[in-house]
Amino acid sequence: MQTAQVTIVNDNGLHTRPGQKFVKACKQFECEITVQKGEKTVSGKSLMKLMGAGICKDDTIQIHANGVDEAEAITYLTRFVAELEG
């Protein structure tokens, strides 16, 4: 398993429009991807679960990836979140 810590920079956080982009990005990878905010950990591949975690601007989250392409997933998603707009 690999983990990266990232801070949310876009105004709306991981909600609907940007959240959906993040979910689509996660679904490109085969590995299991979870997103952790505080004590709450949810699947990165479900928009509903992700929105339930309530991830907003300036929140720091951990992205965990576990599986064959975990290294690529972490590299890609870390950059994806840092460049997210909306």
Binding site: G13, H15, T16, Q20, S46, M48, G52, G54, C56
Partner: protein, 157 residues
């Protein structure tokens, strides 16, 4: 305002409704909200425009859509509508199509959108059997009982 209180106060539940396409399905929900004075007539058009621009960004899970626009696109107050369809419709998203449950959301600001509305919707579907229970529901009382139970479970967790 909670999901349950909003649905009751606005009389905004339609069960086993019929819609020929996704636009008609979205309109069922926005019409309920418009009738209740939650949104004005711009809201439906705004959701269609948003969908044309960004794709159906509000499909939360297989079978489930949460159509909504921005606060400034005709939202008068916070509210929800809940629509289930007799026959599902297709939004053009292979991960989540076909859709037969729509929870239309109107929120006056980002805070209400993020914190209030969505948590309750997520709680309702935390138990995956609730998708089928909701599809099968034919009375408002059945829907309210499902929401009550989901909220009780969420508090106990």
């Amino acid at each position: 305002m909670t999901l349950k209180d909003s649905l009751i106060a606005n009389n905004s539940i339609a069960l086993q409704a019929e819609a020929s396409d996704w636009q008609a399905a979205v309109k069922l929900g926005t019409d309920l909200l418009e009738k209740a004075g939650v949104v004005d007539s711009r809201y439906y058009g705004a959701i269609l425009e948003g969908t044309a621009k960004f794709g159906p960004y509000y499909l939360l899970a297989p079978g489930l859509a949460m159509p909504h626009g921005r606060p400034e696109e005709g939202v008068l107050k916070n509210g929800f509508a809940l629509v289930t369809l007799k026959e599902p419709v297709v939004f053009g998203d292979e991960d989540n199509d076909p859709i037969d449950i729509l929870i239309t959301l109107a929120a006056v600001d980002q805070e209400s959108h993020n914190v209030g509305g969505i948590t309750q919707v997520v709680n309702l579907f935390e138990d995956e059997d609730n998708f089928d229970r909701l599809r099968a529901a034919t009375t408002v009382d059945e829907v309210i009982a499902l929401i009550d139970k989901a909220e009780a479970d969420a508090q106990a967790a």
